[in-house]
Symmetry: C2
Subunit: 209 residues, 2 copies
């Protein structure tokens, strides 16, 4: 009756604080991080198996043929994808896995793996998002404007996610996210084994009388 | 952007500890209890509006005609039902409401009110359920046997509920249930207003540039 782990897919607006949230979930609560595969070259400081699995085009394409990705896409001449093997092994061991990915990828994962839990991270409002992007000071106003424009498009997909995570205060947001994932382990669709054993128990018991 | 309350419907095996769980949710966490209506006569100590709303057949039937019940049924010559008015008012005020009801009633409520959250309370196993019923010592072995037989039938409906609550330790069970309900307030289907305001925010903002 041990519980399987949950694959939690996290998306959200650029500037919503997804990266920090994911980092905290790993450090504070022991979540495992799904590592993507790519055919682009490693940048200085990047390690195979940490930032990405760095593969050749041939390796990547043979994995596509063998259906070894939850999702993959080609972007500016390089492949990017989420390999199934590591995630599935961790879930079997009862570990929760986090996958940070953009919306189209997240929806593909949900198709392949309907038990995946989809969380969308957002600041309390569009105005707060703009404020944060401006304060960060790492991007030109033109880039910020583009990000906000994309935000409006992305917001239309929030309804396809299971939960909204409002990132107002990081600490609260981390604990809220952890709590949502823990509670989801008790959802009936995730407790099929328990329900089966319970039914068996009633049967055996009645036969024994 | 204030959140509406959630209507939580609690069912479970007889002997699973639903009554105590509901009582603790009300006392520790301020949940509001949905009060049923009935045409049966009050028993000594029962109060109108506390145990039940005691109605005449005429009153009950006119409420049926006016679609004022989430669900109703006739049982041994008396009507029993869940009036909508009180529940809907509490939800509007942002209060969470608990309704303890058997399975057929729970499924009717879900039909009428798809946002309702259905929780099924169970002991860890059929064997533990029997043990508890025997220890309680208030029923004959024949009645216990009947309850267990019904348990086997009821277990087939667990899949129609949203969550399983395993009542092993009462304190844990109360906190787990409260946590599930709180987290459900962040489910996207319950945050339509927030999503709408978020989208508006992006639009206004872009028009303002």
């Amino acid at each position: 009756m041990s519980k399987k782990g949950i694959l939690t897919v996290i998306s959200g607006f650029s500037g919503a604080g997804k990266g920090t949230l994911v980092k905290e979930l790993v450090e504070r609560h022991g979540y495992k991080l799904s590592v993507s595969a790519t055919t682009r070259s490693p940048r200085p400081g990047e390690e195979h198996g940490r930032e990405y699995f760095f593969l050749t085009r041939e390796e990547f394409e043979s994995m596509i043929e063998e259906n070894q990705f939850f999702e993959w896409a080609e972007y500016v001449g390089n492949y990017y994808g989420t390999p199934k093997a590591y995630v599935e092994e961790q879930l079997r061991l009862g570990n929760h896995v986090i996958l940070e990915i953009e919306i189209q990828g997240a929806l593909k994962v949900k198709e392949q793996c309907p038990e995946a839990l989809l969380l969308f991270v957002t600041p309390p409002s569009a105005a707060v998002l703009k404020e944060r992007l401006v304060k960060r000071g790492t991007e030109t106003m033109e880039t910020i404007q583009k990000r906000l424009f994309r935000g409006a498009e992305e917001a239309a997909y929030i309804k396809d996610y299971d939960y909204i995570i409002v990132n107002d205060d990081l600490g609260t947001c981390v604990e809220e996210t952890n709590s949502i994932i823990i509670n989801e382990t008790n959802r009936t669709i995730r407790r099929q084994d328990f329900i089966r054993e319970l039914l068996e128990g009633f049967k055996e018991f009645q036969e024994g009388e």
